[in-house]
């Protein structure tokens, strides 16, 4: 089981890592990226694709949506299971996330174990 976290906020990365370890067990492999560009590099060079991606929307340089656009150009994008997350209240962000076929769901920060309930990896 492998999860990729993409977030510019190091505190949030830590919080999400701890929560996922609790939910999926300590043997879960957590990859962390500080931004979209960083995450693309990780994915391009990965031997196996992550089973789950938690993607923050608001990030400097390359935000969540820009990342999705770039990802779409890659053949493996269809096999990824992506949840977007944000503390945003901008309704446009929510609509845009819903419109994207690549996005499985939308999670609101702060993340909790309850919120991760319906969040399942792509392969069992």
């Amino acid at each position: 089981m492998q999860v990729l976290l993409i977030d510019d906020n190091p505190i949030d990365l830590l919080i999400h890592e701890k929560l996922l370890l609790r939910k999926f067990g300590d043997d879960t492999s957590i990859l962390k990226s500080k931004g979209g560009g960083d995450a693309l590099e990780t994915l391009d060079s990965a031997e196996t694709l992550p089973d789950l991606i938690l993607l923050d929307i608001k990030m400097p340089v390359m935000d969540g949506f820009e990342f999705l656009e770039e990802l779409d150009k890659r053949p493996f994008s269809a096999r990824l299971k992506i949840y977007m997350l944000s503390s945003t209240i901008d309704p446009n962000d929510l609509l845009q996330a819903e419109d994207s076929e690549m996005v499985e769901g939308f999670l609101e920060k702060p993340l909790s174990l309850d919120a991760l309930e319906g969040c399942t990896p792509s392969s069992p």
Binding site: I15, L19, K34, I89
Partner: protein, 653 residues
């Protein structure tokens, strides 16, 4: 019948035959000494009526005529003498134009011959041609007056003209024109005793509408001739005791407006021709009064229309379908003179008015409007000053009577100001839209920027609750403090932004080095502050500026320089000021990470963050630029990646 023959002699028989042959109305015969021999009854009555004298046989003609008037006597005596000398007939005329005695006579004298052709006397006949004379005279007066009346354009002048040209020529002692005012007839013009000057009457004569012959005529609207006033119960002595009187109403549009009244001290003075003449004069006067009043009303109306048209700031022109200028207002005249150097005149043609480049357009639109389609044309006219003048021309169909050429009104409005306002409005709208967008963006960004650290704090609290490892809890607590500081700094920035926008600029003399000390004091707890080496170089120390805003600027620049310091070399910040003509410079230079050239253009945008490392709000440089601009200054950035950055602020003195 010839009843007064004194003797049935042969001579008398001859006289009688001669008189009968004359076949005239008034007859008499004279002997060789000019004594009356015979006469007819009618003649006796006529003489009695006109002179009051009695005619009798044997009377000297000269004696009889002496009573009447010298003109009659002289005419008769001269012509009798001619007949006596030449022994042939004479025909002669005489007219007396004195009021009371007005008379016009045609007379003839024939010699009477006895045996052996000896002159034995004279047969005389005469006709009273006064009426015929009057008819001729009145007709010529009437036609004269008709042509004169046309040239008169005031009612009062018209009445005086009737008085001078008609009434004064009728051999009357007194004649007046009275006009109706309310229930009274008032003297408007007079000939004779009631006149006191060129255009003045002696006194204010007023007659109630129901009194006397004049009043009767005024109330009935019918003319009246009374040749014996003493026998008429309607008579009422208005100004002098008249023996005969004629009065005719002046009726305009079926309403009596006044009365022309003529009076004579002689009984039976007036003929029906007087009445007819005055009736015709009254009719001409009535027509003319109506015309004058209508014209006056029209002029008044026209005056009001012009007042309205001339007082508008818009130009109006009226054309017929062929492009003839039918009317225009003052603004139109002034504008055409000013803009096209054309002096408008009625009857001008479109091609004389409009420059060639506008002519075809004008004619097309004129045609369109004449077919009932109102249309608009916008004209941009370049003035000599090279300024653009905007005109809106409305072509509207104008009412016209059947059979007349269709007409079109041109309304010319100066829309230059309107255009300018429109542009300003568009710009304002654009700005407002942008402001609204900014505001939306701002609200979402603020809420995100506040919620992001807040949600981190909540997440950390959650972790603390779940954790039992004291080391871990300690780490989370440290993170809690960072996140809280991030909220605090963000709120501070936002306040700075709001204050810059809302607070009035208050300049005063201040020292730049003191200002820097204050800023350093404020920033001393910032992470990395202790590592920094500061350098100051003051080309200008004292400035006159808003200390609060200058502090925002300096704080922003120095805190950025600290945050983005390089880890590869000892960080250094150089602060300089420089004196220039009319302005001064403040620069902050560092040897930090530098900014990539592609990021430099977005640097001052709201919420822009160039690096994912940046912990800031994305507001700092935006606030910096806004603040500098509020002081009418400029901000420039020069930066090389991995070498450092220099911000330079230019401010006016």
């Amino acid at each position: 019948m010839l009843p007064h023959f004194s003797k049935n002699t042969t001579d008398h028989q001859r006289h009688q035959e001669a008189l009968l042959n004359h076949g005239k109305l008034y007859l008499w015969s004279l002997d060789c000494s000019f004594r009356i021999v015979t006469y007819n009854q009618r003649t006796a009555q006529y003489v009695a009526k006109k002179t009051g004298a009695e005619i009798f046989p044997g009377q000297q003609l000269e004696e009889l005529l002496a009573i009447t008037n010298p003109q009659a006597r002289n005419s008769w005596m001269e012509n009798l003498e001619k007949v006596r000398q030449k022994e042939e007939s004479q025909v002669f005329y005489y007219t007396n134009l004195e009021p009371k005695r007005l008379v016009s006579v045609r007379a003839s004298i024939q010699p009477i011959f006895g045996e052996k052709n000896i002159l034995t006397g004279y047969s005389c006949a005469f006709e009273d041609q006064t009426k015929q004379f009057l008819i001729n005279r009145l007709n010529s007066l009437k036609s004269q007056f008709k042509s004169q009346a046309l040239a008169i354009d005031s009612v009062s002048e018209l009445l005086w003209s009737i008085t001078d040209n008609i009434l004064a020529e009728l051999y009357l002692e007194d004649a007046v024109i009275l006009m109706l005012e309310g229930d009274e007839l008032r003297l408007a013009a007079a000939h004779g005793s009631k006149r006191s000057g060129q255009r003045a009457t002696t006194r204010d004569l007023r007659i109630p509408i129901d009194k006397g012959i004049t009043g009767h005529v005024a109330s009935k609207g019918k003319s009246l001739l009374v040749n014996d006033t003493q026998g008429d119960q309607r008579y009422f002595a208005e100004h002098f005791l008249a023996q005969s009187e004629v009065a005719v109403p002046i009726t305009v549009n079926g309403q009596v407006r006044g009365v022309i009244n003529c009076e004579s001290g002689r009984e039976g003075f007036f003929y029906d021709v007087h009445q007819q003449l005055l009736e015709e004069v009254a009719e001409v006067a009535a027509v003319r009064i109506k015309q004058i009043e209508d014209t006056h009303k029209l002029q008044e109306l026209d005056k009001y229309h012009r007042a309205v048209l001339d007082s508008t700031p818009n130009g109006y022109l009226l054309f017929d379908i062929r492009g003839n200028l039918l009317n225009y207002n003052r603004t139109a005249a002034q504008s055409f003179e000013r803009l096209l150097q054309v002096q408008l005149k009625l009857g001008m043609l479109a091609q004389q008015i409009f420059p060639r480049e506008y002519l075809q357009e004008f004619q097309d639109r004129l045609k369109q409007a004449s077919q009932g389609q109102m249309n608009y044309l916008e004209v941009k006219h370049l003035l000599r000053s090279r300024l653009a003048l905007w005109l809106q021309v409305t072509f509207a169909p104008a009412p016209h009577d059947e059979g007349e050429r269709p007409r079109v009104t041109l309304l010319v409005e100066d829309t230059t100001q309107l255009k300018q306002n429109e542009r300003i409005l568009q710009k304002t709208n654009q700005d407002l839209r942008k402001t609204n967008q900014d505001l939306d963006h701002f609200v979402y960004s603020i809420s995100h920027n506040l919620r992001a650290p807040l949600s981190s704090i909540m997440g950390l609290q959650n972790l603390i609750q779940m954790s039992e490892d004291i080391e871990e809890i300690h780490e989370y607590t440290h993170m809690l403090i960072d996140a809280t500081e991030s909220i605090d700094s963000y709120i501070r920035n936002t306040l700075d932004y709001a204050r810059n926008n809302r607070t009035a600029i208050q300049k005063k003399n201040l020292s730049l080095s003191q200002l820097l000390s204050r800023v350093k004091q404020k920033l001393r707890f910032l992470e990395g502050y202790e590592e920094i080496t500061f350098e100051e170089s003051w080309g200008i120390q004292e400035v006159y500026e808003d200390p609060y805003r200058l502090e925002i600027i300096l704080t922003n620049l120095i805190s950025n320089a600290i945050k983005y310091r390089s880890t590869e070399r000892p960080p250094k910040i150089v602060i300089r000021s420089k004196q220039k003509v009319n302005r001064w410079l403040l620069s902050v230079q560092d040897n930090g990470q530098g900014i990539a050239s592609e990021d430099q253009k977005n640097l001052f945008h709201m919420f822009f963050k160039a690096s994912s490392q940046a912990s800031g709000s994305g507001l700092g440089l935006y606030i910096l630029r806004e603040t500098v601009q509020s002081l009418d200054g400029e901000v420039e950035v020069y930066s090389r990646l991995d070498l450092g950055t220099q911000f330079t602020i230019t401010l006016p003195h």
